[in-house]
Structures are given as C-alpha cells and as structure tokens.
Symmetry: D3
Subunit: 299 residues, 6 copies
C-alpha cells in the first residue's frame, strides 16, 4: 500500500474513532428531527438528511422524523385551481385545502420512507391519525376561525414506542384528529415539539434555512452557538427575537422546560449538518439547553 | 318490563349466542379484506364495512384491510388536467399519474384509519413501501410497457406481524417498490391475494359489486354459493367465467392453493355482508375452498 | 335471496353492531359473576348462563365464575342420613356436613367446567384452597360457634391472574382454609365480593331470583334500575331493605367502595340476562355504582 | 458445642451433600407420582408422601401427583345405599356411581392440595376435565359395557405446562370427558402413565402396596431391583407376572417405550420411599428402564 | 432389606425433611458468602464450602461468593523477590504489589470456578472491574497514602442480576477501579458487605477462623449465638469488641442497617458450617439481626 | 465558519456516511477478534484495537475478543526463577508453568476489561473455565506429552450468548478444563477459531505481525488480498505456506468450512486495522472466504 493512501485511510479511522464518545452518549436515545425548509427541496440535501438519520438509526440511536409539506402544498393547491385566502397573514385551511394538504403530506411522507428503505433501513410513514398519535384542538388566529388548523392537545406515543421497539424508523406528517375525529393540519414545528416532549427525547433538532439564532439578525457575527434557557427568555423579553424565529424559539424553550435534554436549531442548507452536530466536537447552529446543563461539546 | 320488548331483547341475545361458534372458530385468525367497489363510494356502506371489520378486531380476530382507490383516482387525474392514455384497454400509468394515484390512495388510506379510530380501535395506515412490505416487478400488458404498474414479487410481512402483535388494525394501500426503489401501482385484488398468502390468512374476502359467481351470469338463479377448487378450474376451462371475474377467480384459486383456508366473493352492496358471512349460518355470495375442505357453514 | 330473510339477517347484523361499543368498553376487563339460585337449577337457564360467560370470554372479556352449591348440598346431607341443626336460623356446619358440602361443591364445580369445555373454551375449576386463593377466619353467628363457616380474611389472587394470563376461564367454589389449614365453607356472595375486590374487577354481577332492588318489595313498579352508593346507604338506613337483600346490598356497597366499578343485581330467571345487561342499551335489574360515576347505559 | 452433638450435625450435613448429585441430575425435570394404596390411608404415610413431593418441588424438580380414590369411593357408594354390581369382576360404573366417584375423588384431591399448601407450596387440584386435560373413549370389559369407565384417548398437557411454569404443584384426579363431554372414571395407573408420556416425564413412580416386582411372588428373596425392558417383556411372556401386577407392568413398559426415562414401582408402605429412591444411592423397589439406559444408581 | 440399614436410611430421609422449611424460606433469595481464612487453605474445608454453596444453588437459593486471596498473595510477593513495606501496620500496595495481588486473586477466582463447575453447576468468576461492578475511592490509613487500596464507593449490580438470571453462580474477587480506571485492591469483607447491600441480600455469611462473637474473647463460654443490632452497638461502645472483630462487626451492622436481613459470623473451620447454619435448627456461630426481627431459629 | 474548516468537517461527514453500508451489513452480527502479537505490546496500538472493538460494539456489532498472553508469560516464568524446557521446539507446560500462565493471562484479561470499561462499554473477562466454555483434550506433540497443553474438544457457547444478550463485550483468555477438570493452556488462535465456529460468527479476524498471506513470503508484492478456500488448499498443497502461517491458515480454512462467513488475517501493527478493514472499501491484509461467496469489498 502506498504511503499517501495509507495516511488517508488512517485519517478516516480517526474520524470514526472521534465519533465514539458521541455514539456511546446517545446510544438508544430518542432524537426527534424536524425536517423542513431547503433541505426538503434540494435533492442532494434531501439525500444527505436521509443518510444522516439512517446512520443515526444504524449506530444505535432512535431517530424519529417529523416533516412538513413545504412548498409542495401551495403548488398542488394552485394546480387544483383553488384561490388561497389569508386571514391575519395565515392561510385559511378550508375542507378542500385540507384535503389537498393531507394528500401532499402523505406523498412527501412516503417519498421519505422510500429513501430510507433504499438505504436498507425499515421505515414506517404515519400521520397523527394512525394509532391516535395526535389529538388536536381547533386553533384560532386572534380569535378568528381559520379552518382546519389544529394545535396539539394530546400525544399518544404508544405507536412510536411500538415502532421503535420493532426497529422501525418512524416518519410522521403533522396531521391530527379533533374530538369529532375531523382532520386538522398542524404546524410541523409544533408537532415535532409536542412529540419530543411526549417521548422525552434526548434531542430535538430543527432543520432550518438559517444559520442559527443571532443576537442581531443583521450582524452574522452575532450567531449564538449555545443558549441557556434563561438567556433565551431574556433575548425574547428584550425584543431581540422576531419574525419566524419567535415561535420556533418558544418551541425550543417549551421542549427544554418539559424534559427534552437539548434542542438544536441547525442550518439545513449545510449537507450532513445533523451528523456534524452530533458526531464532531464542532457544533453547528445554535444549541438550546437548560441552565443547569453541563456543557458537553461546543467548546 | 313489557312482554313485547322482553321478547325482542331475548331475540337479540339469541343472535349473539348464534355468533358464539364462529367467534370461537376464528379467534386469533387473520382475515384479509379486499375493500373496494360500491362499498367505498356509498357513505352508509362504507360505515357498515368499517363497523364490521372493527367488530371482528374487537372479538378477537386479526383483520387486515387492503383497499383500492376506486373512482377517486380518475377524478383527481382529471382535476389535474391530465389526459388519460389507454393501452390494450389498460390505463397507462406514467410518472405524473403515479404521483396522483399515490396521493389519492394515501388520502383514502388515512380516511379509513380515521373511521376505525373513531370507533375506538387503533389502526395504522401503510402502503407497500412501509417496512418493505411489497416488492414488485414491472408488469407488462401483452408485452407492452404501461408504465408504473407492478406485480407483486415478494411480500415481507414483518410489519404486519408487528402491528398485529401490538394490537393495531393494519390498513394497506397497494403501492410498492421495485428493485430500484421506484414507486409502482398494484392491482388491489392482487395485493390482497399476495398478502393473504404471505400471512397464511384463514380467510380472504373480496368486497365486490356482484352477488357472487354465476354459472350463467345472465341467469341470477345460477349463483354458486360454494365452489370447490377443482370445480373452479373446470368453470374457467369450460369458458363460463369471463370479464372482470376471471382474474378475480384466478386470485381466489391462487390463494387457496397457497395456504389460505377459504376465500369469499361477497356482495359489498349489502350492508354488513362481512359480518353476516362470518357470524350467521347463512352464507353470502360465493365461498371458494379446497376440495378436501370440510363444509362448515352454507348449509 | 328472498326479501324477508334478507331483512331478517340484516337485523341480526344490527344486533351485533349494537354490541360493538360494549365489547370495546369492557375489552380485557375482569368480570366476576356470582352464579346461584334458579339459574343453577333449571337446565335451560344453566345452559344460557354458561353460553353468556363463554361468549364474554371469547369476545375478549375476562370472566370469573364464583358459584354456590344451591339446594344440592341439602339433598346430599339428607341422603347421607344426617339431621340438619340450626342456630339462629343458620345451618350448623359440623365436620361431616363440611365434608359433604365440599364434595357437592366440587361436583357442581366440575359440571360447570364440563359445560364450558363443551362450548370450546378452556376452564379450570378450583376452590379457595388451590394456590392459597381464599384464607378465612371462623365466622360466629351472634357470638355463637356454628362450625366450619368462614369469612374471607385474605384473597391471594395470583392463581387467578395466572389462569387468566394463560387464557383459562376460572370457576371457583367458595371453600377456604383458616390459619390451621382447616376447611371452611364461605357464603358464595361474600366470596364473589372479596374476589372482585382483590382483582379490582370492572363488574361484579349477582345472578339472583329477584328482579332487582325495590323501594317497596311489595310494589313491583318501584324497581330501581340504577342506584348510587349514597342512595343505597340511605335506603338501608331508612329501613327499606330487609331479608336476604340486606347482606347482598351490603356486599354491593363494599365492592363499589373498594374499587369495583359497577355491581349488578340481575334476575337470573331471565335467559341470557348477563348478555343483555352487558351488550344492549337496555339494562336488566339494578345497577349499583359510585356517586361520581358517569352514566353509561340504562337511559 | 459438645462433641457428640457436633458429630451428629456433621452427619446431617453429609446426608444433604449426598443428595447433591441427585438434585443436580433431576433439576427441572418432571416427575409423575401415582399416589394410591396404603399410602393414602395411613395418616403418617400420607404426611410422608406429601412431604416428599413438596421437598422435590422446592429443590427444583417438577412433580405432578396423580391419585386415585382408594377405598373412599366404596365407602361412600355404600353410604348412599347403593348396591354395587360387578361384571367380569369389574365394578359397573353407572351414572349415580360415577357421580359419587367424582365427588369422592374431588374431596381427596382438595385434601391433598390442603396438605401441600400447609407445607408452604402452592398446589392446584384439577381433574382431567379442567383445560381439557384428559379425553377418553368408553372402555369395554371383554366387549361388555361396564358404564362410565374410560380409557385415555388423548392428553392435552397445556394446563400442566402452564401450572408448572407458574410454579404450582399440579394434583390430578383421574376423571375425563369423552367426545360427547360426558364424565368417565379412569384407572389412576393408566392416567398417570398417559400423563407421564404426554409430558415426557423423567420419572414415573407408582406408590404401591408391594415391595416391587418378584420373579417368584411367593419368594421374597426374588425381588428384582432393576428391570430392563426386554427382561420385563420376557417375564410377562414366561408367565411370571400375574394378578394386579400385570397391567401395572404393562403400564411401566408403555411409559418407557414412549419416552419416560425411568419408571419405579415403590413400596408406599415405607415412609419417605420416594425421597429415599431419589436422594440416596440405595434404591427402593423395582426400577424399570430401557435396555440401553446407563445405570445411574442401584449399585 | 435389613432392619438396621432400613433405619439408617430412614434417618437420612428425616434429615432431608428437616431441611424443607429452610429451603422453602430462602427459595430464590440471594445469599452472599464471604469466603476466606482457613476454609481457603485446607483442601477438605475448601471442598466442603464449595459443596455447600453448590447445594444452595441447586435447591433454589442464589448464592454469590466473594473471596479474598488469603496467604497466597504474600507468598507470591515474596516469590517475586519484593520487600513488603508497612504503614501503620497495613501493607503498602504499590503498583507492582497490586499487579501480583490481582494475578493471585485471579488465580484463586478461577480455581473456585473450576471446583464449582466440577460439581456440575455453572459458575462465572469476575472481579469488580467486570461490568463496572465495583467503583472505589483511594483509602487512606490515618491520612497517609498506602497505595492502591480502595474503599467501595459504588456498586453496579447489573452484572450480578444478569448472571443470576442466566443461572450462573457468580464468584467475585475484590478488585475495583477508581474514577481514573486504575486498579485497586479492596478488603474482601468490605466488598462482600457492599455487594450484599447493593443486591439487598437475604443473608450475608462471613466464613472466619473464630467460633463467633464473644462477650469475653478469653472466655469461650461467652459465645453469643444471636446478637441484635442495638446490643452490637452497645458491645462496641462498651469496649468488648477489639482487634479484627471490630471492623467485621461494623460491616455486619452496616449490612443489617442497609437492608440485609441477617448476617452470620461462622466458624469456617467446621466442615459444612454454611449448610448447618442454614438447614438445621441448630445455629452455628453468631447471627446478627435487626432489633425488630422475629426469631426464626437459634432457639 | 471559515471555508477551510467547513470543507474539513464535510470530509468527516463523508467518512461516516461511507461507513453506512458496512454498519448495516454487519448489524447484530458476531465478530470474533483474535488479539495478539505486537498489538498487545505497543501501548498506542493496544489503545487503537480497544477503540476499534468498542466502536464495533457501539454501532451494533457483537464483538468477542480472544487474547493470548504474549511475551508476558515468558517474562513471569523467568521472574519466578523457572527454567523453560522445550520439546520439539514447544514449551513444556508443567503444573507450575501452567499456574503462572493462568495468572498472567488473567492479568492481561482484566487489563483489557479495564480499557473497554474506560471507554464506557461494559465488558466481562472470562476464561474457558467460566460457564464451562472450553472443554479440552490433552494435546501431544508428535506423540509426546508436553504437559498441560490442551486442544479444544467442545465449546459450550451459552455464556457467550448470555453475555451478548445482556449487552456485555466478552473478553476470553484461552484456558480450559479437561474431563478431570484440570487446567490446560490452549493456543489462542485455536481457541478463537473454535469459538467463532461455535457461535457461527460472521467474521473471525486475526491480528498478526505480518501484512497478510504472500504467495512468496520473500516478495512483498505477492501479498494476496483475497483468498478463496480452494486456492488456500492449493497454496498449502503446493508448499507455498510455511512456518507460523501454516497452522493459522489451517485455522482459517477450518473456520470457513464450518460456518464462519469470512476470516481476515490483518496486520495488527497498523493502527485501527480492524476498523479500516470493516468500514472502508479498501481491505487490509488477506481475506479468506468460501469459493461461492460473493465479493463484497476488496475491489
């Protein structure tokens, strides 16, 4: 064997060995991955996310994917010749819209199953209807009815424990039933957060289209790599957090305060961001954690 | 209590007691129900099928539903402004058609889950992609490529056994993957038959839009209530069976010859046909069974 | 199929479907049936009770039968040429009487096993001696020794859980052992009540020779179909309840106050009274329940 | 501690140590004990048998007792004022006789349970009706109907495995059901033999009122301590075996030829004969074993 | 059989029967045996200890052996030409001494495994390193560093439960790891006590070279056969206990106060002392027990 | 994040992803590693082997280590002042030598346990005595007695399956017992081979001090990277294989012919050779495999 190639493969071994403490630390732990944004559009990124989650499964973690429908829903609503209606800036989800949304989410769901199966791991794609996983209440927008938009009222995690026990990778689309057994759409971030709480996940990772949380969104140098709960509350109170980041950060806080050990806001535009976050001593994006939590990486 | 009402409720008790030997006979046995036709269109019939299957589950049977998409697929293909193309009378399933078919089947699948959940039983809706359930080969029509139409090559029933063990009612839509992990549509009758064989079902019941098998389709008095395998072969050979009934009867024969104890062609237009077939000593439709099989009911 | 017969079998289906919510509600719940009175004498009623319990077993309930010896004991005591002796109106159970009582109860016990086995369900007949099920103290009658009459001191339900787990129907005769391991007879109502408490049964049903609890026993129109615990206490306090009903009602109260969800005093002279009570929306006899209990049927 | 008492207790230790290889050899093995004869009459012998079996249970064996009713049945038949009728020297078992026989066997059964429970081990007393344990055919005597006398047609050992798994000591009385679910009496030796075969017992021990098998019954010095199968056949063929010993020896041969490792004919009149046979290197009575069987003790 | 030998074997039976209540009482209970002293030197005593423990295992107890290295360590240290160094009368355990100590303990460990295996029982010899069983802190002697001498900081009993569940007899040598994963020697008495606490043993028995605890060590007539905890504290406080007995008695007290039911100081110089203590109604040595503990034997 | 470091960590992700198919392929498969030679001497190599095996464990493989004592045995034999004696070039293992060998192997065994525990994985170090794992016959050298040198006669893998089930990493030193329960030394290669056969390992890997098998040992360019069984036989027959390689290659052949899927002769002097062999598409050393085996890597 030549000198050069030998050195190269030795470097490979080092990378694997570097992963050892992380594999050990998260062995048999549940990791909920909210999958959405660009990482659902770009085919290469899609492939990298699925590879990452599959690898996590194979090395002994118990990942659960919660995904949204991204831009596909709008595309199909348009295709069906329907006119979108907005209330307070939120799309009104009437029955026909809900029908299309569920169809599109189902299609996305099965396409993810397909990609995981192709990598040799058994996945099962379900919605919040299956096994009574997600029970919802109607969600109002400033007191106004915006249709079949639900907020999670109760999670029945039995089906998730059953699938994990039988060695499947659960892939979930955020659709649930209310007390009348009517179908409701759920915000995927909210669903992921509720599920992570219900199964007391070790980690909850959001794949987003931003680098992480900034103190000043206009100044990229203010990216926060680690954020304690009390500091997160303070950032919000002081008005530093706005736009789409506010509900996301609230979800993070909610998860941490209800038993999830650590939440990550990752930049889904970076290939293998999930793997890098978990397996290297160089964190990606922003980690949110309890005030008393020991620092494990991100040094 | 008045005399009349007392007699009436005593009659009710008799009906329940009459069901006793059937409940006992099929306790913990797997029953695959192919659900399609009118019974998928009429809301009342739909409700009656779901009630029947749910009752079977609750009294100790292990039902599995395999369903088609019925007329919904055509409706949505049209909605999307696509022009259907036919080859040898069969619809060509190109990629966009397959995409819509999968979406519609997914929608139907979840709506059935929803109905079962509403009756208080936990269901899980899957396609043949989940857990690698259905592996297919491309199916040609007289040697011609008709697109993403597959024939079942292999059934991996692990996910079904897992779901049954965990007390779920599996509801399956007939979509599968080929060796390249591409998506294919499967005829629901074929899928039901392959699944019944794979799990060695006690019964396979087809809900159809006919009363059963006739010796002479034009003469309703020639309805056959019980058909031994050898007689079925003879009927086909002698040309009595034609049209849509031929492939269906071939599926029945295939199932019986591969370990399924009994196959039923039921008239799905009769409410609770499934329950009546199983729980009363008056058979509905045509039962196909092995030549050596003892007669149990239908006398 | 003729119109008439078709309508008839559709009615049958409706009866089965009507049972669905009850089957679902009591699935895997323990139901203790105190079997005695006329229902143990009349052959047809006997058959109907055994059919009912067997059906409950088959559709997923976990019934346990506790039976007395009825008039058989007196018959055999007389046959053996023994003179009955009474103290305060209670039969004195000396050693020879106890010996015969145990033999007769054993005979009745195995005859019930036999009937259940004949219906294709596996039963095991035990007494309170087996597996140390029933431990007793000597029971005095107004301070006087009346022989081998015991009151339940302790129930060791392990054998019941074991038999239920292994899918047997336990049939129990009310004989127990005291601390010296001597044999004692136990009142069957008391034994049923103690067992129902020990296994935290969902239901305890007494098959009796009356229609239920009356406010005024002489006025059949005063039958009480549903009795809250506090009302039961009041009825007793106000002196409405007398005779054999008093200890029975006290047993009912005791059971409800110790974790049994609902107790039924059924008219065992009505065929299939057990089935009708459980599977129809028309209650039979008197149901005793906690004050805070939601009404489920009997409307 | 004094010298003498010290030596005495050291002797005790030696006895326990001497038992070690036997305990090890039969650990978790099933031993069927046919209990009858004098050992069922004399109170002290009764106690010694129960102590022996209980000890076997506690040190890890899996004993099963099969008992007869001995002289008790005759006593109670007489008590009931019934006249015994004999056909070919065999008692005719008409329905009333069967009823009394079952009652008496049940009484004996529970008294054995009682004794075992008193020693702190959990026993369950069953008959061949429970769990469908013993299915019988009517047995004729020289072609003549002698009533409810059955021969074992089929053993369903599920209940025995279940009770052993749950750590109970099963005690069985030899009553069974025919295909019409009618009650039949079974010879206890035959029942013990059939059960030992069905559970593939390691040992089957008959407690009898003789010292063992003699070559010449009139010459006590001809007691055979170990008998190979081929020799047993020869003894029978040569006419050495007669009277009650013939069916017993045939049972022994039947057991050995169908998978039971060793059968013992023990003298039940010797206290603790069972323990001595199993735990000491000095055999008691006659051991019947396969021709190829290695000698383990009896040297 | 001759009269004399018959009487002799009947005596044997009595010894076995005498053991019955003790076998029953300790069935499936964990018994930790600290094995050391003369019983590890004399070959015959060694054999008797191993026979005793093996018998305990076979009759259903769950024994665990913790052993020291006795005089073997000194012998091998000398063999290696090393000069022992003492601090405050305690041997300084430098790295080379620790290395030899571990080797010798390992040798002793496997020789015990070997003896148990020879008696037909499966043993597994482990040290406190295996499965992370024993975690230690460095132990100082009057504040002075005496090398690799550890005191137990934490017991992780998983490996013991696993081995017991799989029916092995665990044999443990008292070596553990500190937080840096360095090897430390542990006093065998301390290790046995910590392990007995961790597994909540029913009994902890020390095999010693003395008869038991004396009120006055110089007066053998003052041997205490049963010592309540409060009396043990008093004996220590009043200065009756000195020398090597003090730490041993403190260990006993510690065990009793932390959940071990009874501790025995046995004279390991008596063959089968363990068996005699457990299986006869004549206690050996001193039993230490809680103040509220009922007296079971030693009367 | 800077461009350079970003590229670097992306490379890391690729290495992890590259491992995915191998992790999937060997998931839950048993891999026996014969650990010896230089890799046991050099501290850094030692660390790398333990890291590799621990990583294999963590990512779902089931590794088992079999180790020798290397040069340590000779060192300690010398230390004890003993004179080595050789017969036909083989060391004579008399009783004192065996005693030292066992002590040294025990020390090495526990030091490996220690290293694995330090990496956070639970290991159990056993010898062939524990649980009766290795039974041996005396091995002669050209018919001459060379002392306590054994060849494996029987492997009882129960303890290995138990430890693997309980998630421990078994570490085995090659000492066994003969039928008299005397201690014997076993060649570590032979022990590893026998164990791999007994557990039907997926892989058996020998860590050696050579690069692999050469066609011409003097010409390093003739290294064989993949060797089919038939070619291995031919190489031996044609006299290409000599010295220490001959018994090793015979072991490889023996393993393959008895159910082990693949055997590897690895160069233990390369850090992480085990990891590189398994996780990269560049094989290390020589792989021996069945003739019909599909090529999986080494292209």
């Amino acid at each position: 064997m030549e000198e050069n190639s030998m050195q190269e493969i030795l470097k490979k071994a080092e990378v694997l060995i570097e992963a050892l403490p992380y594999i050990q630390r998260f062995n048999r732990k549940i990791i909920v991955v909210k999958y959405g944004g660009s990482a659902m559009v770009d085919e290469e990124l899609k492939q990298s996310v699925i590879q990452d989650v599959t690898l996590l499964k194979l090395v002994g973690f118990k990942p659960i994917i919660v995904h949204g429908g991204g831009k596909e829903i709008s595309k199909w609503v348009a295709k069906a010749g329907m006119e979108p209606e907005f209330i307070n800036g939120l799309r009104k989800t009437d029955a026909p819209t809900m029908e299309i949304a569920e169809m599109v989410l189902g299609k996305v769901n099965k396409s993810l199953v397909q990609m995981v199966e192709k990598l040799g791991v058994n996945a099962v794609g379900i919605s919040g209807k299956d096994g009574g996983l997600l029970k919802v209440n109607k969600k109002l927008s400033n007191g106004q009815d915006i249709g079949y938009v639900g907020e999670v009222k109760e999670v029945n995690p039995k089906i998730l424990y059953d699938l994990l026990e039988k060695d499947f990778l659960p892939i979930i689309c955020p659709v649930g039933l209310d007390d009348n057994y009517d179908t409701y759409n759920i915000n995927a971030d909210d669903a992921a957060c509720a599920i992570a709480r219900a199964v007391q996940a070790e980690k909850l990772a959001f794949l987003t289209d931003i680098e992480g949380v900034y103190k000043d969104p206009d100044d990229k140098s203010t990216l926060i790599s680690e954020l304690k709960i009390s500091d997160a509350h303070k950032l919000i109170k002081d008005g530093y957090i706005g736009g789409g980041m506010l509900p996301k950060l609230n979800n993070c806080i909610d998860a941490i305060e209800n038993g999830v050990s650590r939440v990550h806001i990752l930049d889904g535009r970076i290939a293998h961001c999930l793997l890098l976050e978990i397996f290297t001593n160089r964190g990606i994006g922003t980690a949110i954690l309890g005030d008393a939590e020991e620092k494990f990486y991100h040094e």
